[in-house]
């Protein structure tokens, strides 16, 4: 009952705010009124002598004021002795006493960022007062490259923040991790956009953030350490990213337009066998197996290249983005309206992303003691991806090079009849005729009221909601391509979810000479609800209509589901500042989550941080070259409650169809002891600004102890069958690391300036405990182990066999010394090398041309005990390096980022070098081991008579049973994932203001940009940036949609 009251109240509250603002909006008027003695006028210009337009000029202590016009000119009535205040965004404020009727003013750009106000969660703070590790990414930083989504804007720009695309598809999934792997279950930070919390958890191939238009953003604050994030308690374990979008400013209305056009390309193809090589391979295969030789392949040299299917499914694709924003307002009411449109064709056939967005930010002072505001955002997107989800990339690798894309009559090319009975679809036909897209509408709405109850005491109450509607459309067409047939099937699913957050807090500020205090306390409740409805049908007669109603009614299936979760919190913060030298921040939060049973529901998250601004000490006063030195020390506990199952502490019945009606069984193992994951973190930081702020250096060191790690238990398959594994507090781990940021102005001479920014991060992870003493966590794909996590080691390391060579002839089956002679035992017999368990030397077992694995434990048998760690997916360090050159009106930015020392498991090579395959082989397969008889008249099954002919053989022999499991998980497929990427190069030109004023244009910049220009890497797959949705299966590359190279041309225009 109470629940409905709360919900209704929130909506009615939002409604009230909307009404108030609606009534006020016509009252957006200029306040400047003129009635004074003397007319003062002048020109306001920049240091470069460009007139500044829209500079606010006010008389101190009054509400009187004006703004400069397009020539930088202003006129104001003032008394002699009045103080005029000139303020302009990005410039230092100037206060000048009126002495005559002409007052020309030069304003300096504000390089001193320390007084900038930073959003910190339930409030703001001056940057100089920060005690925690907070990194800002500003609109200016983001403008240096073209970002289609928010997460791209983050990549490489903030130390300690690692962004990896899980898919390069337009609108594709991204994983962002702050300070290493923080959890076994989801690593995405919490995003708070203008006060509305949004989970960063990607689902499948689409990003939760793809609906946010990055052009709306003014700043992003990345809260990294626990003392900064603890105020977000339960949802803070993975860090918090606070996003502020454009707000209106008092003054002239500004209209600006940003737009660009771009072309995207596939930077790299996989090298697969061409037709000649494929024919050679087929001939070899027929020879080994004894049949299946094809007449047309008799002389491969007569054949051409055949079809390069990858070329056929990838293309150069255009993208364009337009953004229009209007900002303005009066002293009382400020507004910003932003409308955007993005359309992006993917480089893969049949992929596309489109987004419309509209954002309105409005705030107004109704009374002296009452400010209200509203933030509204609506976005609609459509994401088409037939290539990723339909397995088209894989089909393109598998389909034979002999098959043409189209036959001479225009019909789709198809395979000839073959003895394997395996037929692949035509990937081009597939990508073009399959339907797979989703449409979504996101609505974010927040209303707030600030009430000044008493001097220094403010009550803020805010209500926000985030409502999403998604519909997913899929259709697999009826297809008969020669021997390949495909039945039609269609499905539709529609889901809606809503998030409602109600939040009230009181802030009290008090300043007494050298002491200043700030106390905040509040309450928050959050509720999530989601519903889903889906249906499918098969048996469509034609492909022209895809709606379910034309499918076969007998095949109809449908389902629906519903879920809800809630969090309730109490929180408080205490700030103390003594003489701008000693700063203290303490926070406390208590959260209750519906994910846990009543006994384990609530947890408390405290934090304390101290900062010492050494530069404000007396003894530093004379050190002029040091502008700022601050030492920060923080400690805090944050939590994680995010599990995918709302009722993991109990048993939900799974429903399953049976021929005699719906059946039910206990769907999960319950865990009534399940509790919060807790991260205890320490942070030590140093901020240093030197030489007139030309050098800014920030260093942070952290140590995080994460305990009660939440995850779905990794159980052996004899218990983890149909009943899903319980959620458990699986263990504990630590992350230790260091982050360095160095921003410098290297040269600033006349109109030339060279600035650079370097970020560098190191993180080391170690698992310190697991929930049953000797159990280990296994990362599993299809029942096979790929990673192994045990105490004392980093999480999710690749775990497999070591290849020590290939059996080239009979002598290789016996141990050898360094020079290649067989070793002998006491009796003078050769010592056999270890073979896989229960396997012997034999054509159908282990033979010449097979791989030799290392017998790690020297027990003479190759089995699971010989597995070892063969690669850590975590990088040794990551870095970003940005250089900006400006000369007169030109600017050039080069941004490089890189990752060093991580290992990738190239599953593509594991799958596509396997000579068990009939097709789908990489170039590497031209080096398949070919066997020859030493004595051509001797027996083929006599091991002493067989050897490998080609000395460069790097792929095992062709054999139908592969009893040696040559392609087992081994270090053969582990590759170095280090890379250095020229992520972005942009060149811009800003037109001189003097020229623009003639056209009433305030600002115009045009630019050209190249993204992902080149990647230096030894990795042989598509892209060394391999994402993952699962901590235990990181860096396992299984043909994801590759990232593209993008050439962009664009303009920013402000009126």
């Amino acid at each position: 009952m109470k629940k409905t009251i709360i919900k209704r109240s929130i909506y009615s509250y939002l409604w009230c705010i909307a009404m108030i603002i609606g009534m006020l909006s016509p009252v957006i008027v200029q306040d400047a009124e003129a009635a004074n003695n003397e007319v003062v006028s002048g020109i306001v210009s920049s240091a470069e002598n460009e007139p500044l337009i829209g500079v606010s000029v006010t008389i101190k202590g009054t509400t009187k004021g004006t703004v400069t016009d397009v020539k930088g000119h202003y006129v104001i009535n003032a008394n002699r002795g009045d103080i005029l205040v000139f303020s302009y965004i990005g410039y230092s404020k100037r206060e000048i006493t009126v002495k005559g009727s002409v007052l020309n003013v030069t304003m300096k750009e504000d390089s001193e960022l320390l007084n900038e106000v930073v959003v910190v969660g339930y409030g703001t703070m001056k940057r100089s007062d920060l005690t925690g590790a907070v990194t800002s990414v500003t609109a200016e930083d983001m403008a240096k490259s073209v970002n289609t989504s928010l997460d791209q804007a983050l990549q490489g720009r903030a130390a300690g923040v690692n962004v990896i695309s899980n898919s390069g598809a337009p609108g594709g999934g991204i994983s962002v991790s702050i300070r290493g792997v923080n959890s076994f279950n989801g690593n995405e930070p919490l995003y708070v956009i203008d006060g509305i919390p949004i989970s960063g958890q990607s689902s499948g191939n689409s990003s939760a953030l793809s609906n946010i238009n990055p052009s709306d953003i003014v700043t992003m604050e990345i809260l990294k350490d626990a003392s900064a994030t603890a105020i977000y308690g339960t949802r803070a374990a993975n860090g918090v990213i606070l996003i502020t979008t454009k707000q209106g400013k008092a003054g002239d209305t500004k209209i600006s337009y940003d737009g660009y056009y771009a072309i995207q390309q596939l930077p790299k193809e996989l090298d697969v066998l061409n037709l000649r090589e494929y024919a050679t391979y087929q001939n070899l295969r027929a020879e080994v197996i004894g049949f299946g030789a094809r007449e047309e392949f008799k002389d491969p040299s007569l054949l051409g290249e055949g079809t390069n299917w990858q070329k056929e499914i990838f293309r150069s694709a255009p993208m364009q983005n337009h953004q229009l924003s209007i900002t303005g307002g009066s002293q009382k009411t400020r507004y910003a309206v932003m409308a955007g449109y993005l359309t992006q064709d993917g480089i893969g056939l049949g992929s596309k992303f489109e987004r419309f967005s509209l954002r309105v930010n409005l705030d107004t002072s109704i009374k002296k003691w009452l400010n209200v505001g509203i933030n509204a955002y609506i976005a609609r997107h459509k994401q088409v991806n037939t290539i990723d989800n339909g397995g088209v990339i894989e089909t393109a690798v598998r389909q034979l090079p002999e098959v043409p894309v189209r036959n001479s009559d225009g019909s789709w090319g198809t395979q000839q009849e073959n003895m394997y009975g395996t037929y692949f679809s035509n990937p081009v036909a597939d990508a073009l005729s399959r339907e797979n897209y989703n449409k979504g509408t996101d609505l974010q709405l927040r209303g707030y009221a600030d009430i000044n109850l008493l001097k220094g005491l403010v009550l803020k109450t805010e209500a926000s909601t985030n409502i999403n509607y998604y519909t997913d459309y899929q259709y697999t067409p009826l297809m008969k391509l020669g021997y390949f047939t495909q039945a039609s099937s269609g499905s539709r699913s529609s889901s809606n979810s809503s998030f409602v957050d109600f939040n009230t807090y009181l802030t009290y500020n008090l300043s007494l000479v050298k002491h200043s205090f700030s106390v905040m306390a509040g309450h928050e409740s959050q509720e999530n609800n989601s519903e889903n409805l889906s249906g499918s049908r098969d048996g469509f007669i034609f492909n022209s209509v895809h709606e379910l109603q034309v499918g076969d009614a007998k095949s109809a299936k449908n389902s629906s589901s519903r879920n809800s979760s809630a969090i309730e919190s109490y929180y408080g913060r205490f700030n103390y500042n003594y003489d701008n030298r000693y700063l203290l921040t303490a926070t406390l939060r208590r959260d209750g989550s519906s994910n846990f049973s009543e006994n384990n529901r609530w947890a408390t998250f405290p934090s304390v941080a101290l900062a010492w601004r050494i530069s404000n000490e007396k003894f530093m006063k004379d050190v002029k070259w040091i502008n700022n030195v601050k030492l920060r020390l923080g400690w805090g506990i944050v939590g994680n409650q995010s599990i995918w199952q709302n009722y993991a502490y109990g048993v939900t019945m799974s429903s399953s169809a049976t021929p005699t009606g719906q059946g039910f069984y206990p769907g999960n193992y319950s865990n009534s002891d399940l509790k919060w994951e807790k991260t205890k973190a320490y942070n030590l930081g140093l901020d240093l600004n030197l030489l007139d702020n030309r050098i800014e250096f920030i260093a942070d060191f952290y140590h995080k102890d994460i305990s009660n790690l939440l995850m779905q238990a990794s159980l052996p398959s004899y218990v983890a069958g149909v009943i899903s594994s319980p959620w458990v507090n699986a263990g504990s781990m630590t992350n230790k690391g260091m982050e360095l940021t160095l921003n410098t102005v290297n040269i600033s001479k006349g109109s030339f300036m060279w600035r650079s920014g370097l970020t560098f991060s190191i993180n080391r992870n170690e698992v310190t405990g697991l929930y049953t003493e000797s159990s280990a966590l296994v990362g599993e794909i299809g029942g096979l182990a790929y990673s192994y996590t045990s105490v004392g080691n980093p999480v999710g390391q690749l775990y497999g066999y070591k290849v020590i060579g290939m059996f080239k002839d009979e002598s290789d089956f016996y141990k050898k010394d360094n020079v290649g002679n067989n070793l002998l035992d006491k009796e003078g017999n050769r010592i056999p090398v270890a073979l896989p368990k229960d396997k012997k030397i034999g054509v159908n077992e282990v033979w010449v041309g097979d791989y030799m694995f290392e017998d790690k434990n020297n027990d003479g048998v190759i089995d699971e005990n010989d597995r070892s760690f063969i690669g850590n997916p975590e990088p040794k360090f990551t870095f970003g390096f940005s250089n900006t050159f400006t000369y007169k009106n030109f600017d050039l930015n080069i941004f490089i980022n890189g990752v060093y020392g991580n290992k990738i498991y190239n599953m593509l090579r594991q799958n596509y070098t396997n000579p068990m395959n009939n097709s789908g082989l990489l170039k590497e397969a031209t080096r398949i081991a070919v066997l020859e008889l030493i004595d051509p008249n001797g027996a083929a099954d006599d091991i002493t008579n067989v050897r490998v002919k080609n000395s460069d053989a790097s792929v095992q022999r062709i054999n139908i049973t592969d009893a040696n499991n040559n392609n087992r998980m081994s270090d053969r497929f582990v590759e170095d994932g280090s890379y250095l990427r020229i992520k972005n190069v942009s060149l811009g030109y800003t037109f001189p203001k003097s020229l623009l004023t003639k056209f009433n244009i305030e600002n115009l910049r045009i630019y050209a940009n190249v993204q992902n220009l080149y990647t230096f890497t030894d990795y042989s797959g598509y892209d060394p940036e391999v994402g993952s949705y699962n901590v235990l299966l990181r860096n396992i590359d299984n043909a994801r949609y590759p990232s593209q190279r993008i050439f962009t041309f664009g303009a920013n225009l402000t009126f």
Partner: protein, 530 residues
């Protein structure tokens, strides 16, 4: 100022009402699904709770059934599909090894969980209804363990999931204890299941039939080449009871493998797949079995499996009925496949798989044929199996069996196949009869393992004489419909297959060995008195 204060009061009040939530704000018991606490409350709920034991629980066993039950028995062979099972080159990394292991244990864990829930949570149902539901669970658990035993030998026994979830590092148990565990389960099932069950569900006769098989298997298991008389007697007792009293009958052999004959009179226990069902509840084997879209009404399929020379040569002259229902052999006509074109005649000279291929969606299948989706049940036990078990148990340790009910029921199976009755049968006759009767029914290998445990040398020789890996593309029929395979057309594999004592049982899946090294420890005794 006065006004301000009243505002403050008003706002504070407003904030307070919106502030703290009531306790149940954080209580989010699922609204979209049942929970175990409120589910087991009626007789029909208990039925719904045991139904997935026939369907969902076995899903992962689909392809492994073919691999282990048939390919390994050399019923069929394909160079491109599961060859390692026929050629005995399986490793712990094999897919079907892990999926069979997982599927059998899925049956075990689902049974355990359901028994536990019924015992703890059931309300509003009679003791008898409870016992019957528990009996169904125990029947399925016993059957799953029987498969596990014959695939891996010693395995982990458990009847309480929570213990194993909390501590997954459990040891294996001795084969004798696995047998005892199975017998306990099946005996309970035989006593508590009704004589006449709902369609598609097991009756007490089904439980007794399996029990007879278990006793027969145990009688010779590691027993020095003879069969234990006590177990034989038990096997005879249960088999005779079923054969004489169950009231069921054999039906036309070919009809056994038609959709419309699912749960026919002969079917005693079967996996109940959902026609046109979704993944996890459907019979996926259609596309693995069917060799051409000509026999599936255009539904995509990819089988490269063929009946082996070894098995085809087990067919006696005149055994055309069973041959036709099991393999496509040259010049054989099927009126019920491709009905709209007047039927289908196989004119190739290989021996693709017929059993499990019921035709296309437009044939007599109500449209329920799709890629990897056939509407056919998978037999766990049918009456003919109990008949042959009766005969084998009656033969016991004797050289021949030439009288009595055992022989009578043996001959019923032959008669149904259209073959002449035998006046005397030997162990070899039983092996041959079973192989033909159950060819491509995913069970021959399991029986072979029992025989191997009874007479290891004999069966090793048998396995090694099976011409494993041999192929022939010139299989035809003579004028009388008998199969013709000339030795000259045979193609031998590059190296002969060697079956040894070391590779009869499958390796434990490597992933589980990594997670539980105790699987390598010596098997322990199971504590039955917990």
């Amino acid at each position: 100022m006065k006004r301000n204060i009243s505002y403050i009061l008003l706002l504070s009040l407003f904030t307070l009402t919106l502030g703290s939530c009531s306790d149940d704000f954080l209580d989010r018991t699922p609204k979209g699904a049942y929970t175990d606490a409120d589910f087991y409350t009626s007789a029909s709920a208990l039925k719904a709770a045991t139904a997935p034991l026939y369907t969902r629980a076995w899903f992962d066993y689909n392809r492994s059934a073919l691999a282990i039950g048939s390919c390994r028995a050399n019923d069929c062979y394909g160079q491109w599909f599961l060859p390692a099972y026929t050629l005995f080159t399986i490793t712990a990394l094999d897919n079907e090894v892990s999926s069979a292991w997982q599927a059998f244990y899925s049956v075990v864990t689902m049974s355990n969980a359901t028994i536990e829930s019924i015992n703890q949570k059931a309300t509003g149902v009679t003791e008898q209804e409870k016992n019957q539901a528990i009996a169904e669970c125990r029947l399925m658990r016993g059957i799953a363990y029987f498969y596990l035993l014959r695939t891996w030998g010693p395995v982990i026994l458990f009847d309480n999931n929570d213990v194993v979830v909390k501590n997954p590092l459990q040891p294996r148990h001795k084969e004798a204890d696995v047998f005892q565990f199975i017998i306990n389960d099946l005996t309970y099932a035989a006593e508590n299941l009704p004589a006449v069950a709902d369609k598609g569900r097991a009756s007490s006769w089904g439980a007794k039939g399996v029990l007879a098989k278990v006793y027969l298997s145990r009688s010779g298991w590691d027993n020095g080449g003879t069969r234990n008389q006590e177990d034989l007697d038990k096997a005879i007792q249960y088999a005779a009871d079923v054969c004489n009293n169950c009231g069921l009958n054999l039906i036309d052999y070919e009809n056994l493998y038609k959709y419309k004959y699912n749960n026919n009179e002969e079917s005693m226990i079967a996996m109940q797949w959902v026609p046109n069902g979704e993944w996890y509840v459907c019979n996926t084997l259609l596309s693995d079995l069917a060799f051409s879209t000509d026999v599936t009404g255009g539904v995509n399929c990819w089988s490269s499996l063929n009946g082996t020379i070894d098995l085809l040569r087990q067919y006696e002259k005149g055994d055309a009925k069973r041959l036709k229902a099991t393999y496509f052999i040259n010049n054989t006509f099927y009126s019920y496949i491709n009905i709209k074109d007047g039927g289908y005649t196989y004119d190739g000279t290989s021996s693709p798989i017929k059993k499990g291929v019921p035709g296309g969606p437009d044939d007599d299948n109500d449209g329920y044929v799709k890629v990897m989706n056939s509407p056919l049940n998978t037999y766990i036990l049918r009456l003919a199996d109990v008949y042959l078990t009766y005969a084998e148990a009656s033969l016991g340790n004797n050289e021949t069996l030439s009288s009595g009910d055992g022989l009578k029921f043996f001959n019923k199976v032959r008669k149904r196949a259209g073959l002449a009755e035998k006046s005397s049968i030997s162990f070899d006759d039983i092996i041959r009869e079973r192989r033909v009767e159950f060819a491509m029914e995913y069970c021959n290998w399991y029986d072979m393992v029992s025989w191997y445990k009874y007479k290891p040398e004999k069966m090793l020789k048998y396995f090694n004489d099976q011409k494993r890996g041999w192929t022939c593309n010139q299989i035809t029929k003579d004028d009388y419909g008998n199969i013709v395979i000339n030795d000259a057309d045979l193609q031998a594999p590059t190296t002969p297959v060697v079956v040894t004592n070391d590779n009869i049982f499958l390796p434990y899946p490597e992933k589980d060995l990594l997670q539980n090294p105790r699987l390598k420890e010596e098997p322990q005794s199971y504590n039955f008195n917990k």
